[in-house]
Symmetry: C2
């Protein structure tokens, strides 16, 4: 069968706030081939990914993404890899491509899973999907007191692990950061797993990072995530060599396999965090999971959005029994929860399981989405080249 | 003074062909602050960069590029770095950002050069701009005969060096590629400098590359450019270790400083090729030139478009006396030549010199551009967020 349609739906909260919360908008992707439909999601900047789907060609290696997908044969899972490679080749000089491809790749896996009546993780070669231990991914409070209260809430809500990130952390004084860290530790109790996300604010400045090492150690932080820009491999490696038991985590900024490989090979990471909505989808994520596993680096999903994205981001390492930690958004905006008919909920042990259902096992709630739909129109020389498609009647 | 306007103009040939020729469209950037105007250019996919300039915010680290530029103080060249860093921080999760920033950064340097009545290379800290030896950058012919004729023409036209790339090369049999290489060598005569651009078609497959090593050696190729995807560091390094006198060249795919640094540190490059229209502009390119120089790797510009882009791409290594080779587009489409009032022409020795004029020293020809202007309109929920601005009366 051939890929007959790729539809991109831009969804947004009525108001998008200037905070580090990636659940405020979404780009939902629908791929249709024959009688089958698959769904995926691209991370961030929906309008830009829409433009990259439909823009005019600049030259042979800078084509719109849809040029390499529409009309392609999709009969077998090997076709997904073939189509992904075509996209990367034909849109090599279009920087946005990897983010755009990500949602399409997810949708193709979802579609093939439905066709073959098999969960994606099995199509990827895993026999079994192991439960994951979700950590609550939350923003630092504006004050240590707020952070303390957030940590207590997370703990009371049954999470064994929590990651605090963004907000004021890393931007002020060392003392202020120490107060934030101690507040988070206090709120999580002695045995809670505390993870910290610095959100790259230190650029590549090892000194600023190392001034906080004492506090990271005192508060028994399991990982320090993105102390530096994704790609500042030397800074990561230097800090890793000084940090003892505290591991470096990073990788969400990687938008292709090679960048992740470099983080694993040269940055001294303990954890590699992959966003399937950025790196090119499930296919590339699985390659990274295999490589990380071979190199003794723990794979973790990066997900701050919907449960469709969550399912897609866990499939690539579902079968890695020892890689248990899993990012789980606990404070998403209503859009992110409303977007799907079902959700990946924690069980009585506080763990989560991928749906044992065909494809990604998470289906959009099209009725609920209507109110979030953003109408987009792109015109070139008075010709409409993209207009928000109508949501279909059924998912 | 404050940055009061950023205008993006999408220009295109009436017909864009499916060939590896990047001169078929352009995104011209105008930045205005106080009474000064600067011009720059972003590489490839103009519509996508326009979208990234004006798109709605997704979250605090995914803002439209203009949010970090409009209204900023631009009084000193250090402001350029500050603004660039703001853009990278505020648009970190918007993949297209680095390409978009590139043209803005160039325009800011051009503007400051005009304000300070100084060529950009001097603002970058070079005392002198050394002449460069341009190589003719042409596409392989569809047949060896065509390649032979192209090489003869280039030679007759006075070029001492030529780079052949794209077209059928690397996609067919080893024998076909050997024929192409021998044709190019024959056409350039014994003493012509022959460079080859493989355009990443071998992915990361060292075997396919190494099967051509004999022919590269027989035809005395100076560099093999992009045998692999940008980022396939291991494959580059492996081939470099097998290739004797033939050097690896690559780097045009780098869209930030770190990626270029990794190519220099880990890919065994002899030449690092930087596209100032992709990597974030002149500022990042200069950082790479400094690093390459310190590491004994030769810096080369990557330019396949206009003479405005050419000037911007040479400024970062203008003062490196020994880094003489320079990419020079010899078969650009009329758009690329019409775009500027003046051009960087070869002197009697076949060398080129940067204009000894304020800023980039190359001014757009706004009258000539009118016929190439593409009308773009972007609408979100029926509100126009971008419309092609009117070309000003004077550049």
């Amino acid at each position: 069968m051939q890929i007959e349609a790729i539809d991109f739906y831009y969804l947004s909260m009525p108001q998008v706030l200037d905070i580090g919360d990636g659940s405020q908008d979404a780009l939902l992707v629908r791929v249709q081939a024959g009688e089958y439909v698959g769904w995926g999601e691209c991370e961030a900047a929906p309008l830009v990914s829409i433009a990259s789907l439909v823009c005019p060609m600049s030259h042979s290696a800078c084509k719109p993404v849809q040029a390499s997908v529409l009309g392609q044969e999709l009969n077998d899972i090997t076709d997904i890899d073939r189509i992904d490679n075509l996209v990367r080749e034909n849109s090599m000089d279009l920087l946005q491509t990897d983010h755009t491809l990500s949602g399409i790749d997810m949708a193709m896996w979802d579609l093939m899973g439905k066709k073959l009546n098999t969960p994606v993780y099995q199509l990827l070669g895993y026999k079994k999907s192991y439960p994951k231990t979700p950590y609550a991914s939350v923003l630092f409070g504006d004050t240590p007191q707020e952070t303390l209260e957030k940590a207590r809430r997370v703990r009371a809500d049954g999470y064994k692990a929590a990651k605090f990130g963004w907000g004021p952390f890393g931007r002020g004084t060392v003392a202020e950061d120490e107060d934030q860290l101690h507040a988070a530790r206090e709120g999580l109790d002695r045995d809670g797993i505390l993870l910290v996300d610095v959100g790259t604010v230190w650029g590549d400045d090892v000194d600023r990072a190392s001034q906080r090492l004492n506090a990271f150690q005192e508060t028994r932080v399991t990982w320090v995530e993105e102390p530096f820009a994704s790609g500042a491999l030397d800074s990561y490696r230097t800090l890793a060599s000084m940090s003892g038991d505290i591991k470096m985590a990073g990788g969400e900024g990687c938008h292709n396999y090679y960048m992740a490989q470099h983080m694993i090979d040269y940055a001294g990471l303990g954890f590699v965090q992959i966003d399937a909505g950025r790196i090119g989808g499930i296919s590339v994520s699985k390659r990274v999971a295999d490589y990380a596993h071979a190199k003794g680096v723990t794979y973790v999903n990066h997900t701050f959005t919907t449960h469709l994205a969550l399912s897609a981001s866990i499939q690539p390492y579902a079968g890695l029994e020892d890689d248990t930690i899993c990012e789980y958004p606990v404070e998403p905006k209503s859009l992110a929860l409303d977007m799907t008919q079902t959700h990946i909920e924690r069980d009585d042990n506080g763990q989560i399981h991928l749906p044992e259902a065909p494809g990604l096992g998470i289906v959009p709630d099209l009725e609920a989405l209507k109110k979030y739909l953003v109408e987009v129109e792109l015109k070139i020389n008075n010709q409409v080249i993209y207009q928000t498609p109508t949501l279909p009647a059924t998912a």
